[in-house]
Symmetry: C2
Subunit: 568 residues, 2 copies
């Protein structure tokens, strides 16, 4: 007969002492001394030879101070840290965090954040002494200081006492030496065409991305369903193609978003998906769109409504090239995404104008001829981007499926259908971004959205859990000498069934998983595991909620309070 004496819940307390940093820093050492934040706590930038901090670094410092005193985030254990009150009576206080850079000059964060993707410096070192002397963050750049500030914010918890409560850390001294990302591209895709997201929802998302050190918002701003982007010189497209004038990003909105993002270390990679997914241009410019709203739509497009830019038309190519130039030159990023996914050949083959134009150019009127036309379309539109010093980024089909003779080797390829496609693009010498549906699609598994679909699930079932994203290995099957071609990766919010009402729960905390993979490196071969990530993920989620982000809970609250208690 068994009895329970041996089975009682032992050992959980040992695990409650977690260091809840996300993403996990490299080279982290911590102690177990409690230290309080003085009510007079201040953060000062003092660096030899530099008269004053850039204004956006001053802004970042202000936000960190605000988070430190306003997060009111309590430790996740049975009494939510209440038992810490006693030891905190005698704890030392710290009143200063000093920031400095190792160079004799400093640029604004907003400048550093949008430099060419592989040239950014995010490295920082951080100390939090246990004796009350000043904490430090040292970096080469303002962007590195920002990353250090983000880490610093995650070291602190809160307890109620008196008017302002106690802000404290239980893990001093903390020493982080040369923490830096494994990959520079750590992104999130947001689709604002299937459903519209007001500016404030995008800004909140940027703040949350910054919290986990993400670097890229891949803004899939337009698609066949709507065109919510005002483009200088092409204002008529959004006027006719946005869901309404209110559901449109004006030039001022876009400028506000890219500035807000850059000050938080996030580069906006805007995408105008072409030549497919473009029916929303047909209201203002029917002359450029083939098979507009053709039925049955599934013969002509991956989604309703059908409609594609006429790649065989020289006029259309030049029009798109000019449109790209006009919008891209208003954006600080060095990259611009031109789309290129799911091009439907029948759309063109059933379009009399396209057939005529193909014949006129001397191309055969078939798939092969359309690939030649696409090569021209891509060359003309990409060259326009290069004229304004932008690197083109494309979906994988452009590199892998259409045999394009003139596709530049500078092109960056976003891999989306399946993770096993990355190596094919890399073998062609392209730089890649991992965005595979079998790991990173936030919309999968929550039901198909077509009308007559009783048992219907999504095409990319099952649901992708945060654990699924966290086990992704960016360098799997990639030869060491090609590793530099992997820029990083991103999770994706395709918004067929997402609006501001549910965007936070769909994105967070799941998207933080890839943020860690591409900062800290693959789980495999590291000293991190899913089980040690779990309490850190809980902590991150509860901190997000404190900041007004409606992040989903990943387990019953009981599990969050009892680390190890809900393992399989």
């Amino acid at each position: 007969m068994r009895t329970f004496s041996l089975f009682f819940f032992l050992g959980l307390n040992a695990l409650t002492h977690v260091y809840a940093l996300w993403p996990q820093p490299k080279n982290l050492e911590t102690g177990d001394i409690f230290i309080k934040l003085s009510p007079n706590f201040d953060i000062k930038f003092e660096s030899d030879g530099i008269a004053e901090a850039p204004s956006d670094l001053i802004g970042a410092i202000g936000r960190t101070k605000q988070h430190l005193f306003e997060d009111r985030h309590r430790r996740l254990n049975e009494k939510r840290g209440e038992c810490d009150l006693e030891v905190l009576q005698d704890a030392t206080s710290i009143s200063l965090l000093k920031l400095s850079v190792t160079k004799s000059s400093i640029e604004p964060i907003a400048v550093e954040a949008v430099k060419a993707i592989s040239t950014r410096t995010e490295e920082y070192s951080l100390t939090l002494p246990a004796d009350g002397s000043a904490a430090t963050i040292v970096a080469e750049s303002s962007l590195g200081l920002l990353r250090g500030l983000t880490t610093f914010e995650q070291l602190w918890y809160w307890l109620e006492e008196g008017q302002n409560g106690i802000v404290y850390s239980h893990q001093a001294p903390v020493v982080i030496t040369n923490d830096k990302p494994s990959f520079p591209y750590r992104g999130l895709l947001l689709d604002t065409s299937r459903n519209f997201f007001p500016v404030k929802d995008i800004l909140r998302t940027l703040d949350t991305m910054s919290m986990v050190k993400m670097t890229i918002l891949h803004w899939h701003v337009v698609d066949s369903q709507s065109f919510p982007l005002e483009i200088p010189g092409y204002e008529e497209i959004a006027k006719k193609g946005a869901y309404s004038l209110e559901q449109r990003y004006t030039t001022d909105d876009v400028q506000h978003i890219v500035k807000y993002a850059a000050e938080r270390g996030v580069d906006i990679l805007m995408e105008i998906d072409t030549p497919g997914h473009t029916d929303s241009m047909s209201g203002a410019h029917p002359e450029h769109i083939a098979c507009s709203k053709a039925q049955p739509w599934h013969d002509y497009a991956a989604q309703p409504p059908a409609g594609q830019l006429r790649i065989s038309s020289q006029k259309t190519r030049e029009w798109v090239a000019d449109l790209f130039r006009n919008i891209a030159q208003t954006l600080p990023s060095t990259m611009f995404h031109t789309g290129g996914d799911e091009i439907n050949m029948r759309c063109y083959l059933d379009d009399p104008q396209s057939r005529e134009e193909l014949a006129k150019e001397g191309f055969p009127v078939n798939d092969a001829g359309l690939n030649l036309a696409l090569d021209q379309f891509t060359k003309v539109t990409h060259d326009a981007l290069r004229q304004v010093k932008k690197t083109p980024v494309v979906w994988q089909e452009i590199a892998l499926e259409h045999w394009l003779e003139h596709l530049g080797n500078d092109t960056i390829v976003t891999i989306w259908t399946n993770s096993d496609k990355a190596v094919h693009a890399i073998n062609q010498g392209f730089r890649v971004v991992h965005a595979p549906s079998n790991y990173f699609y936030l919309d999968c598994g929550q039901g198909g959205w077509l009308g007559d679909w009783p048992n219907g699930n999504s095409w990319c079932d099952p649901f992708k859990t945060w654990q699924r994203a966290l086990i992704f290995d960016p360098l799997e099957a990639i030869k060491p000498h090609q590793a530099h071609l992997v820029l990083g990766g991103q999770q994706m919010l395709w918004a067929e069934q997402t609006t501001p009402e549910n965007m936070d729960p769909v994105i967070w905390p799941r998207a933080a998983a890839s943020a860690e993979v591409f900062w800290s490196g693959a789980l495999k071969g590291s000293d991190r595991t899913l089980l040690t990530a779990l309490p850190r993920m809980h902590d991150l989620r509860f901190r997000m909620v404190q900041r007004g982000v409606k992040a989903i809970t990943i387990q019953p609250y009981w599990c969050a309070l009892h680390p190890g208690g809900c393992d399989a």
Copy 2:
């Protein structure tokens, strides 16, 4: 060669003229005349021989007036109803809705709503004339009038014009004759133990349930993870078993919730799940709990932490019986749910005290003996409920798996594992509630929540779409003479991964699907289809959002504006 002339998007406008009522009323006739709500519009209760309306009916009338003028819900077509402005210039105005009952007396809604489940009268008839004369709702009861008011609210749209805008219907005259539900039990289960939901979130959910004429909130208030319920005379259980004192429903909270619900036509069916799922009682009462927090938990329970009431202990049986009496007699419902799912036999067989007690009662120390003990436990606890005039409700295992000799035939059985189990309970003569995981579990398919579960999905994959719930047939495989044993059904929110942050998107609008199935009857054999339900579901979702409910969008906005445009 094909061209598009034949394929252009024809015929969509014909479908935009939808009658967006949810659930679909029986015996509905509508016209296509536009009619405006007068700014002086009023709703009056005038019924022969009745001096005044019950105060909660007056409250319901007030809420309807508020919704009519504050919903600001625009029609779902390309211009969101803007084209209606012209015809509205000359439209007739209506200034009165008259309510009356066909009886010479009337009881409050809150009294009608909690009567024995099969004795409630929800039937109503409604007219909205096209000539500006008064609209009418006639019913036998205040509860019927409430259902009519809910329908009336859904007839109206809004357009901006002047200070208050125009509230109008485009479908007068409307005649609904003797609309009434096919089944009385139209429910939603909310689990407040895995994660806690503040009172305000429950109240908002009740309002939304009322909007779609739901009748039962199955409140799975406690479970092994936490015990957030203050029970008179047993206050110590929540003090030790709630996540915190703030995460607890006080007696006042409970009274507020049941009153608020009843006034909105919703009966609260409270569940204290026993004897399994009860470890949260062990803090205050370790003497009643076997295998508390035993490890490995999966040997002793379906979820961590393990812990079950000692069914072989006469003291425990009487303690639970008294606890049931104490809480049940404070509740207006005629039903009380005693749980009974997922009882783990090994928990008792490994518990020395349980083994001793079984032997003392002369029961064999094995599964068969435990079934005899469970029979006693169920008899004692159910009899206590009958003493306070409550009908016991149980999960299916109690009826189907344990061979309980004394289980009363008055017991109502909630079917949960699979829809094919209903017929087994019915064949034993029990009344059933359909709550099958293969149709109605709102939590399925969104990822497993155990710690070490990289590819893990939930046990009840795939995700259950609203369409899946809508094709459920309550009488499938049930013989006509047994149909009266089907009380209805409910969708379920098990809250392992749900908190107030994401409860609305998880529940709405999906849970409205079963609300329609059990009001309007099965889709199969009716003139409703998934495709005709789609625009009505869109309309309902957008109306919910207008009322502050964060309901998920079910398709891209483009599809909502182009009925028929996104069918598979």
